[in-house]
């Protein structure tokens, strides 16, 4: 990789100042080091270690919402009995991410900000749209892992499992941008990737995710993913559902999917449809139909449609329990 300077930031302001458009933040480093070693992104002049930033490594319960610092590790989430009780779907999502070793160091911020896993993007010798090339190799090539929905010519899907469950939980990210704290819904955090081939999220260079806030509005939640293997494998499709259930009826239901779109895939009409319903197979199936309407399968990824359909139904039915 390209040579770089290294600095440890002790405050968020100094972290932003050090990165200043020509550096990169280093937390868990899982995604960043892979990108740098294969020269997939322009090498930063400086890596700014943010692991010592105070206060960002805590899971903090609150009366109306919980706060997860950006430096909270996936392992911390996985191993927190409180998280498991309050947001079972978040616990499930964290448990499915990568391997134990990676979960021990991977952070909330890094998981949300991680780059595309498209094998053309990740290949050192192909220059695809995401690398400012003029061609998406996947569209007519090996697209088994790619999107069913997209708003641009790139079909690489969002792979952050946390983004999917956070979307279902209607969580908000607090982002430090140009010296000011900005709040972004999960939809906002990714929307740029919907339209822009080179983007994998809406963060600008130098933006720093500080926290994620999860409202205590949905006591039931579930996360499911389907992969080729039983562990340490990416989700082919992932699905999260969350709601409050009162008298057997869904309140504020939200469903989101990963692996099928550059953004966490959600359909407001389906959420609206589910509101006030009693869950049964037919209702869950109808919601799945609505969520997947308009999917455009390519040569090798059509299997994601029935797979997503099954995961939506199962995740929703899990909310009953």
């Amino acid at each position: 990789m390209k040579a770089f300077e290294y600095a440890t930031a002790l405050s968020t302001d100094s972290a932003c100042e050090l990165v200043a458009g020509h550096g990169a933040y280093l937390a868990g480093g899982n995604d960043l080091l892979g990108l740098l070693k294969d020269y997939l992104v322009p090498g930063p002049d400086i890596l700014v270690n943010i692991k010592s930033l105070p206060g960002l490594n805590k899971i903090e319960p609150g009366a109306k919402h919980w706060t997860l610092g950006a430096l909270v590790t996936v392992g911390q989430i996985e191993n927190s009995p409180e998280v498991k009780a309050a947001f079972p779907g978040l616990h499930e999502a964290a448990s499915e991410i990568a391997s134990q070793q990676i979960r021990n160091v991977a952070t909330v911020g890094g998981n949300l900000a991680q780059h595309s896993r498209c094998w053309y993007f990740r290949h050192r010798d192909t220059v695809c749209l995401k690398k400012n090339g003029d061609l998406c190799y996947a569209r007519n090539g090996e697209n088994r892992y790619h999107s069913l929905f997209t708003g641009n010519d790139c079909i690489s899907p969002v792979v952050s499992s946390l983004a999917v469950i956070f979307t279902a939980l209607d969580a908000t990210a607090a982002v430090l941008r140009d010296g000011r704290e900005t709040r972004m819904s999960m939809a906002e955090l990714y929307q740029t990737a919907w339209k822009t081939t080179v983007a994998h999220n809406s963060l600008n260079p130098g933006d720093l995710i500080l926290r994620v806030e999860i409202p205590l509005a949905r006591s039931r939640s579930a996360y499911l993913q389907a992969s080729d293997k039983h562990a340490f494998d990416w989700a082919l499709v992932s699905c999260a559902a969350a709601a409050e259930v009162a008298d057997g009826k869904l309140k504020s239901p939200r469903v989101a999917l990963g692996g099928i779109s550059p953004v966490p895939h959600q359909v407001q009409a389906a959420n609206d449809f589910l509101a006030g319903k009693t869950l049964d197979d037919a209702t869950a199936s109808r919601a799945a139909d609505m969520i997947l309407a308009g999917a455009t399968p390519l040569e090798h990824n059509g299997y994601k449609v029935p797979m997503a359909h099954a995961l939506i139904r199962r995740a929703l039915l899990k909310l009953k329990a």
Binding site: R122, H123, E142, A226, A231, Y303, V305, P306, M307, A310
Partner: protein, 688 residues
Amino acid sequence: MSSWPAETKYISKNTTRIDAPAKLTGQAHYASDIQADGWLYGMILRSKWPAAKILSVNLDKARQVPGIKAAITVKDFPQTIRFYGEEIAAVAGTSKQACLDALRAIEVQAEPRNDFVVNEDDARKENAPQVWDGRPNVSPGRSREQGTVDQAFTECAAVIEGSYSTAVQIHHPMETHGNTVSWTDDGVTAWASTQGISAVRDGMAGALKLDHSQVRVITEFMGGGFGAKQAAGIEGVLAARLSREAKAPVRLMLTRFDNSLAVGNRPSSFQKIKIGALADGTLHAFEMNAYGTPGINGGANIPAPYIYRIPNTRVNQSTVLVNAGPSCAFRAPDHPPASFGMESAMDDLAVKLGIDPLEFRLKNDSNEIRQREYKLGAEKFGWKEKYQKPGSSPGPVKTGIGCAGAAWPAGGASRRTQGEAQINPDGSVEFRLGVQDIGTGTKTVIAVVAAEMLGLKPEQITVKTGDTNYPPGPTSGGSTTCASISPTVYDICANALQQLQTQSGLADARGDNWFAACKKLGVTPLVVHGQWQQGLSSSPAYGVQFAEVDVDTETGLVTVKKVVAVHDCGLIVDKLTTESQINGGVIMGMGYALYEERVMDDLSGVVLNPNFETYKLAGIADVPEIEIVLINMPERGVIGIGEPATVPTAAAIGNAVANAIGARVGSLPITPAKILAALGKVPPVAKS
């Protein structure tokens, strides 16, 4: 004629690997751990084009990178590149980063070519780009015909036709390929991760124009080969040349990326099989048209109709060359794809006949040992209780079972295997054999046989292997090592006892008398030689496996719940290491069945999954309960087990999946995508 003892204390029993403590504590030094004085890192520059003419390579800027001590090209120019990843140049330097920087500083002048082809079907077309000038991509292979095939099909009560295919499997041993090589005025020493120290010595000497005696190869520990590490390799010769230029030892271990491109693979297969049986279930007619690709070189033929004898048989095969890395031996070459195609067709035909697939095999497989194994395995597995009609298991997660048989006819033993033992007056004894332990437990086998024959304990035997300064041993290929060294150690022991008894005057120097006999040697150790003897080993090995799977018909996920592996390997030398081979064979076979596949990109010609992220290997969470049933047959002598253990696994799993869902997934690996497609759940491609 020699024979193995009828009553044994260690042979056929459980002896823990004698090097387990060294491995578990990190004391065992693998090729990739060797740190020779002043060693440098070595790295290879590979082609980023699948086809190109390299006009020139300028190494000047690479040599100027701080820390770089040597830079060389692989060939003279112009060099024709025929696959993505072909070697162009190599560098050696004081750090990994220096080498990486140097690789990027090498200036390659090339004419990339667009006329390449990386997939089999395209390469077979007329007017397909030619991989080699003046040589067609498709070459006919082993073809044969016996009986009256067309007539015979009309006599069958049931006939099925099916397409079965297997993917290219990449060699990914835990330790990548590589060596540390030191070239001094005294000659070359190579610490090699190899299956054949003698072959590496001879190959390196030939490539470097040195006498065999000037090259020494050492392999104390190595992390797996599976067929791909039987020669010096391009990387070995490059390490030597870099060492000569740098005047320092060079450690050139391939990266995982490198290993994905150029160290060899198991060829793909596309088998169209038509098979028919008479009303009583007797196989009567068989026809196969098959092709596969090894890459730019190698063959893709498979044995057909594999382990069955069918009176009317027609087989047409061809090998299709493509612009991709070449094939090489891969754990039971040709057999796992042959087993998958044939055993899948067997089950499909059994379904059509309405016969239990196990009964169908017992009727048509005349081999007595497999007959025994099927019956024994069926009982352990509970076949009768578990068998249900295809697709009849209730609910979205369906259970299914399947079985398949194996044969490993190649191999036997290397008759030229030699070894020696030094017996010291204090009773300590050291065995020295120029064989290498590739992780199978060869050192332990030597200790077990020696302990048995000398009446000592395995831990009293010092075993030295993996050095070409020892008497020559075999390359560890074809599952021949155990059958080569066990008779050799037997012979060394027989000679040792004879001489020791003569010199000491004791009638029996074994066991309790050992130390007294040795003491009579005075001050001079006894060194005795031995060699492979007939009558103590044989071949072939057979084996059958049963698999039980759960298939989630909504997500396509296959979970292998249980495998019962019934195997024979003649006289079992050490039960633990034998079982270890079978566990490994089943796990590797499961990876072949469900996960492993080299994915090439048609447009760019690159290997798309040169890493463990997307070249998927079975992990511990995927591994089922494996129950091993061994049939010990001392009367057959020692037979290898490494290869037969992996042959039938994919076929048994594939049959279990078909039994579960009531539809055939005829293509390996059996991914969730293919399961959902076989169930008719995948929507058509959207029109854009």
